[in-house]
Structure formats: C-alpha cells, structure tokens
Symmetry: C2
C-alpha cells in the first residue's frame, strides 16, 4: 500500500544531520595531521567504535553488498545493542543510509541520507538502521564493528513499509 | 652506496608469508557468511586490532599517502608497541609492504611484499614496518589502529639504506 504518509526523501549526508545517529567518516570531519615525514596526511579518529560486554573486541571485515532497487521499500531496520558499526565504501559510489530515532525501544520515523563520494558512516551502538543499501551497482565496504559473545542484533519489522526516495521527483 | 647485499626483491603478498608479521586483509582469508537476508556477503574478522595500555581504544581514520619512487630506498622502519595497525586501500592499486623480523629489539633484514588488488594488511603490535608506500600514484587508505595515551611509536634508522625492488629486473 503506497501511503504517501510513508514516503521519505533522502537528504545529502552531513555530519550535523547524522550526529544523533553516529559519525560521518570522511576527510571533511577533522583537520589532517602529517605522518610519514609529511608524505601522508592522516584524518584521525573519525568513528567511535564503542563495544561493550564481556569478551568484546573490535573486528575488521569486508562486505560485498548487492544493490537495492530505488525507491527503496523499507520493511526492516536493525540495531546492535553491544556495539557500534562502521562502514567505509571501497569505491566512490554513493549509497543510501537510513536510520531511525529510538522511541521507547522501537524505531520512530526513518530518516534517509545519500552519501557523497567516499563518505562512510558509523552507526552508534544501539542505533536503528537499515541494512546496507547500495543502489545502481554492487558495492564493497570495510566494516569495523564488534566481535565477541552475546546477542548483538535486534530487528524490527514495520507493519507497513516506508518508501525511501532519492529525490522529490522519484 | 648501492651494496648488492642490501638489495631486496618484493614478493607477492600472501597470508602464509605475512603470518609472522600480521594479517592480510582480503576476501580470500575466510569463507564469507551471508548477511542482510542474503543480499550481502561478509568476510568476518580479518584483522586482529590488538590495543594495550590504559585508556587504549580502537580508532578509525583515513590516510592520503603520496607515492614513492621505486626501487625504494628504505632508510627507516617503525613499530607501535601499544597496538596493531591495519590499512585497507580504497582503490585497487597495489602498494608495497615492507616488514622486518625483530632481532633483540632491532629490525632484522627487511622482507618486502607487493599487494594484489584490494588487499590490505594489519601489522601486528610491535612489528617493524616501513611507512605507507604506494608507488605510481597517490593512494588513500582506511586505517584502524590505536588511540589513547602513551608513546606508541618507535623508529629505527638503518646505517645503510636497503634497496627494495619490485622485481628481479629492477
């Protein structure tokens, strides 16, 4: 059922707009510092990889994600109660980022963002978010998140899907 | 002084050859597991981001590194006594990885590797390694390493440089 009240239009991703949900990972976030005798510039400490619980540690992985059709029919969001989760794309293609504020343990109305080339995101611990949603083509990511014992996934199925559009025209 | 005894030829990077120094980060290291209802494949836990010391945490950054001329004149290696350091390139270009075994607190003879497209590396804590050495063109990396108080850098200047060649022919 295409209820217009369920339509969301994605906005350009910005650190300010995304602040309630985590961090934007890009070179615009901090001033660079020189390293390697000035032959490299480091943009330091762009994501807060909080992990909690006994035996928790930060793990690094790679993810190959298939593209989704847009407008995106958003049926499900998830969150990770024991750790943050960061994704950095390995190419310059934009991808869709959908997050929800928490409302008494359930996701509120989604907010959608389109990344600029080379932007990544870090979802703060316990932040409702959609699955990885490239569009147009498959996309690979570095993922930095939590490893260790414990149940670190909570999913929420919406009664009705939200429809996420890339622009007001479609 | 070009002493032939100081000449090193880089080898293709492989997990087995690199094992004494850390981990190779690529999709060949582990079987993938499905995520996002089968719409993505995750290659999990590819790097051991060990961090130690009071207030230590894992940080994520981005690095823009300038290219080096090859053959590489290697004057200096460094190591990080308080944490591992992982680099994942944001494009498919190979880069040069130079590491040294430790010999009583000093670096032994270097070993050099050329990455395959999309391979990254994680230097284990306290492993002697060269600075980031793209060649041919500048290259950007995701870096995952340690933040926190303490002195986490030790450098070693070689009395004579080592010359790292990309192949036996030059």
């Amino acid at each position: 059922m295409t209820d217009t009240a369920r339509k969301i239009v994605a906005q350009p991703l910005s650190a300010a707009a995304f602040a309630p949900f985590g961090q934007v990972i890009d070179t615009a976030q901090v001033a660079s510092r020189p390293m390697n005798d000035g032959r490299a510039r480091r943009f330091h400490d762009l994501a807060e990889i909080e992990v909690i619980g006994n035996g928790a540690r930060v793990v690094v992985g790679l993810v190959e994600a298939e593209p989704y059709a847009v407008p995106l029919w958003l049926n499900l969001v998830e969150r990770h109660p024991l750790g943050a989760q960061a994704f950095v794309p390995l190419n310059a293609a934009p991808f869709l980022v959908v997050v929800c504020p928490d409302e008494s343990g359930k996701p509120g109305a989604p907010q959608a963002f389109i990344t600029a080339p080379h932007q990544g995101v870090c979802y703060a611990r316990n932040t409702w978010h959609s699955v990885l949603t490239p569009f147009g083509a498959a996309q690979d990511f570095v993922v930095i998140d939590r490893g260790g014992p414990g149940v670190n996934l909570e999913e929420h199925l919406f009664d009705e899907p939200w429809i996420v559009h890339l622009s007001t025209s479609g």
